[in-house]
């Protein structure tokens, strides 16, 4: 079980309010990702849930029980840190055994759980090594192993992949998703990388300056961003946001259209422009098109083999049903 409820939780460091009153419910077995730019309070929020920081006011309930004042060890949560925080002087086996030893679990049961975790995480051959002798990905797995053996109510991940190189990150992303499928335990995952958020989450919580901007499934956030911030943050490359006369035509202050929802044609279309920089990824090509009368270039996704070059004239047509409209306050117009 691992249902976590935050009820009007706030956090102040002296005069600075990092987290204004915040409500959030995380259901049992959910994979929730906190995402936002750096300094948005996502790590602080995770540390509040873990108990590593005290809340200034409000209540945290885990499985219905008030855990606001409970010390970290009593919350039945396990955390994987950004730096892995392995104990360098202990072997992998001892690292994984540490929480079990602290809980006073007998030796045979310890061994059984360690063997299990090692098998799940492919660590069996490395149990007698020290963390210093392992690669980044292996250390990451040891940190996860140390979390698994406790059989916690929920896992907390604090930017666990940010120290890994790009290829390894993709692999570990899959492994963590796989692990979640197998264990069905609640997981809370903090990242600033919206790709990680989109690929892994059941539910994404977008944060800005301690405020929740939107909560929803990855596709909900993609299809119906509630405001300009979420619209700009979710999706890669970023959504094109257009102000002024073009927006006014649609009865909005700002309109947004994703690069993949614009049709490109050399002959005719709504907007006329000139091709600027193009980025060829093989499967896709992203063109930055300078449209007459717009300040920012428009990013457009086209197929991998479209033969357009710098300086070519093109016509762009946004798919009308895919245009997002936002009002003066930056909120979505339904």
């Amino acid at each position: 079980m691992g249902r976590i409820t935050l009820d009007k939780v706030t956090k102040r460091f002296g005069e600075v309010e990092v987290i204004p009153p915040l409500d959030l419910t995380i259901d049992d077995g959910e994979f929730v990702v906190f995402v936002g730019p750096s300094g948005c309070g996502k790590s602080t929020l995770l540390r509040l849930i873990a108990g590593l920081e005290d809340v200034s006011s409000g209540q945290i309930r885990i499985d219905g029980e008030d855990a606001t004042q409970a010390p970290p060890a009593k919350r039945k949560l396990a955390m994987v840190f950004q730096s892995y925080a392995l104990y360098p002087h202990m072997s992998v086996r001892k690292n994984i055994a540490f929480p079990l030893r602290m809980a006073g679990i007998d030796k045979a049961e310890q061994d059984r759980r360690i063997e299990n975790a090692a098998k799940v995480l492919n660590l069996t051959d490395y149990l007698e090594r020290r963390p210093g002798q392992l690669s980044g990905g292996q250390r990451q797995r040891v940190a996860i192993g140390r979390a698994i053996v406790r059989e916690p109510a929920a896992f907390l991940f604090d930017e666990p992949l940010s120290n890994l190189d790009a290829a390894l990150r993709v692999g570990m992303r899959l492994e963590i998703s796989e692990l979640h499928e197998r264990l069905k335990t609640t997981m809370i995952y903090v990242t600033h990388d919206q790709v990680e958020a989109m690929t892994m989450a059941d539910k994404i919580v977008v944060l800005r300056a301690g405020n929740i901007e939107q909560v929803g499934s990855p596709l909900t956030l993609y299809r119906e961003p509630r405001n300009l911030f979420v619209a700009g943050f979710i999706g890669s490359p970023k959504m094109n946001l257009i102000d002024g006369a073009e927006a006014a035509k649609h009865g909005a202050r700002t309109i947004g259209i994703r690069p993949e929802h614009i049709d490109v044609s050399p002959q005719a279309g709504t907007w006329e422009g000139t091709v600027g920089v193009s980025e060829h990824l093989g499967s896709d090509t992203f063109f930055h098109v300078h449209v007459d009368g717009m300040k920012e270039p428009i990013t457009v996704r086209a197929g991998g083999e479209v033969g357009l070059h710098h300086g070519d004239k093109v016509y762009l047509t946004p798919q009308p049903e895919r245009i997002h409209r936002f009002d003066d306050k930056g909120l979505r117009i339904a």
């Binding site: 590593l52 010390p71 970290p72 955390m79 730096s83 392995l86 104990y87 360098p88 002087h89 540490f98």
Partner: protein, 288 residues
């Protein structure tokens, strides 16, 4: 990078320093070796060449020698124990954020700046004097009989004085070690359910192991040659005669330069044996 030319220039420029260092080290050593095989007692006008190893045998077989070894071991061991345990405790305390941290840290370091002779005198006259000492007053305040420190507990008193001087050194090194500990490790241990003393035992102490061995190594090298504190307080009486002090007594008080030099060479050999053992232990610790 280094060309043939620049390398020979470098050698040339280093030469004076190397030469001075060699002379500084070798001349006293060779003189001591030379004296140690002489019967050289200036006050009696004795200067007989080449008595062989008789100085060594008489130094090694005298009862004072074994006693002095024992005293040296107890003294060095005692000081090491107090400074390491106290240093760990103080470092843990000073690591906590407190008001006036900068000033407190400077105050803690202060004893290290006091010259050994001065601190021994201050301890002897200000604290340990059985009539006027502050400790005597303290004892009297609680209605106890004041201890005559330097005659009743001479060895312990010296250990106390030297420990006071070296505690800052240990604290300083151990404090930097604690500060280099990744706070996420402590938080991980906290999440893993380790209470405060377990975190200390399993995370902080192993992290400090390396610094502790360095403290032990450096202090041992310096503590083997304690002199001023003994000279000022007990003059080597009441069972506080260390090997260093014994050598001094043989040379200066007995005016037997030959015997003293032999003792000096023996002390050098013993100190090197200790150093080799310590280096091995430290080396092992530094590798890990």
């Amino acid at each position: 990078m280094a060309t043939q030319h620049s390398r020979s220039a470098a050698r040339l420029m280093m030469a004076p320093a190397v030469f001075v260092l060699l002379v500084w080290m070798l001349v006293p050593l060779i003189m001591t070796l030379y004296f140690s095989v002489l019967d050289y007692r200036p006050m009696r006008g004795a200067f007989d060449c080449c008595v062989g190893l008789s100085n060594y045998t008489s130094f090694l077989t005298s009862s004072a020698f074994l006693d002095s070894i024992l005293v040296t071991l107890v003294m060095v061991g005692g000081i090491l124990a107090i400074t390491v345990v106290g240093g760990v405790a103080l470092a843990l305390l000073l690591d906590k954020p407190i008001w006036g941290q900068g000033i407190v840290r400077i105050l803690v370091i202060a004893p290290f700046f006091v010259m050994p002779t001065v601190s021994a005198l201050v301890w002897k006259n200000m604290f340990m004097d059985p009539v006027n000492g502050l400790l005597a007053h303290l004892w009297e305040f609680f209605g106890a009989e004041p201890i005559s420190w330097l005659s009743d507990l001479p060895l312990f008193s010296i250990i106390l004085i030297v420990s006071w001087q070296w505690l800052p050194f240990a604290t300083l090194i151990l404090l930097t070690a604690i500060q280099s500990l990744d706070s996420e490790q402590l938080e991980a241990a906290e999440m893993d359910g380790a209470p405060g003393y377990s975190r200390f035992l399993w995370i902080i102490l192993p992290h400090m192991a390396r610094a502790i061995t360095v403290v032990i190594l450096i202090q041992t090298i310096f503590l083997l040659s304690i002199f001023a504190e003994i000279f000022v307080t007990t003059n080597g009486a009441f069972g506080t005669r260390t090997l260093t002090y014994l050598v001094y007594q043989r040379v200066i008080e007995s005016q037997n330069v030959g015997l003293g030099s032999a003792g000096g060479i023996i002390a050098v050999i013993l100190a090197n044996i200790v150093a080799i053992f310590l280096m091995r232990i430290v080396g092992k610790n530094l590798d890990a």
